[in-house]
């Protein structure tokens, strides 16, 4: 890799937006809005990459030549993990898969709750984890304010859970000896 490319890589700070397998146009249009793009650029992010899922709202692409945020999008990818890894900030729907995948990678995370879902239990988890300071929690309509006010230094790292207690219970119940 050449020096110029490395320098380019060093300045690259990607905001990755993911809706998983859902349709969440309210989130996509919120991140596509002028004020959200501006606040992200003001905070030093250079790229906005949006995973649209089943949504139909298409954001405006931009190559960011004029010093503004470069914006790109795609619908699905089998390598979401790679996008998460290369991101400096993740804005995600409230699906637990996306939430924990991001937290495990220790990436700063803003979770946006989809209020259009019939059974909106998802806010429970995001609220709980926001109370514990592992992420920021927003709704599409106050995403801008959340991004403007957020201070990533106040977030606490998340220590992953452990499935062995369940496995132990199941084994004992079935009469398997502890090992």
């Amino acid at each position: 890799m050449g020096d110029r490319e490395e320098e380019e890589e060093g300045r690259r700070r990607v905001v990755f937006v993911t809706v998983g397998t859902t349709r969440f146009d309210a989130l996509v249009s919120a991140v596509d809005s002028e004020n959200v793009r501006k606040v992200l650029a003001a905070k030093g992010y250079t790229h906005l990459l949006i995973q649209l899922g089943r949504g139909s709202y298409l954001p405006t692409k931009s190559d960011g030549d004029d010093g503004s945020l470069a914006v790109d999008y795609f619908t699905f990818s089998s390598s979401i993990a790679d996008y998460l890894r290369s991101a400096s900030l993740v804005i995600s729907h409230a699906g637990s898969g996306s939430i924990f995948e991001t937290l495990r990678l220790c990436k700063p995370l803003v979770v946006v709750v989809n209020e259009d879902l019939m059974d909106n239990h998802q806010s429970e988890l995001a609220e709980e984890l926001a109370e514990r300071k592992h992420l920021y929690y927003a709704r599409p309509q106050n995403l801008y304010q959340t991004l403007a006010d957020m201070d990533l230094n106040t977030l606490l790292p998340y220590s992953p859970g452990d499935a062995t207690p369940v496995a132990k219970h199941i084994n004992r119940f079935l009469g398997f000896p502890d090992d």
Binding site: S96, D116, H121, G161, P165, V166, A167, I170
Partner: protein
């Protein structure tokens, strides 16, 4: 009157049997397990599958064998992920990949966002499909964690227990996404006492549902 009394007799018999099954289900197996148990794993979408695979990662593969995976017909990702896991297990043990888990699809009783009214019809179709799959699999252990797909399967498993067709131990792990209330699936399996053991990942849920078992966060 002979007909009426025999009907009452049969109903009483069934009720006693149901109560007996519920009583036995709530207690650990009295015998020490000797052989591996055939295991049906019901996968959900996205987060549910991730949680289930985390659990499978720590379960002893030589005890929970053979493994059958069921996912919704509309969900391609979950079975793919399970297949990846099984293939990597097979590679580790040097067994041929064809011996790995078996994968099946099931019609879903309710899609995210579908109305409760149309859910009735789709649930019926899902029930028949589930019955067919359960007749084929007849698992000794059922592991599930939340998607609606598990309701018809577990209900049929319970009926099989009552009829003496097959005794399945049903384990339900409530999703980590449920902090304050059980999911509809969890609530049904808890209230109807279909789940032998119902695990929750947040202490608040255990306080609310005393028969649930708190196991801490899986993820």
């Amino acid at each position: 009157s002979a007909i009426i009394s025999s009907v009452i007799f049969v109903i009483t018999l069934i009720l006693v049997r149901v109560l007996f099954v519920i009583y036995c289900s709530s207690r650990p197996m009295s015998r020490r397990a000797q052989k591996p148990v055939s295991t049906l794993i019901i996968l959900g979408s996205g987060g549910h599958t991730a949680e289930m695979l985390d659990l499978l990662a720590v379960l002893q593969k030589d005890r929970f064998y053979p493994r059958f995976y069921i996912a919704a017909a509309t969900d391609n990702m979950s079975l793919q992920k399970a297949e990846l896991l099984e293939n990597s297990l097979a590679a580790e043990n040097g067994t041929p990949i064809t011996n790995a888990g078996k994968f099946m699809k099931i019609y879903r009783s309710r899609e995210v966002g579908q109305s409760y009214i149309t859910s009735i019809w789709t649930t019926l179709v899902a029930m028949l499909h589930a019955l067919w799959l359960m007749i084929k699999i007849r698992p000794e252990v059922i592991l599930c964690n939340g998607p609606g797909t598990c309701i018809p399967i577990c209900a049929i498993a319970f009926v099989f227990k009552v009829l003496g067709i097959r005794w399945s131990s049903i384990f339900y792990v409530e999703s980590i996404a449920r902090v304050r209330r059980l999911s509809l699936s969890g609530l049904l399996l808890y209230k109807l006492r279909i789940a032998d053991q119902l695990f929750v990942q947040w202490p608040r849920l255990q306080q609310q549902y005393p028969r649930a078992i708190y196991v801490g966060r899986l993820m």
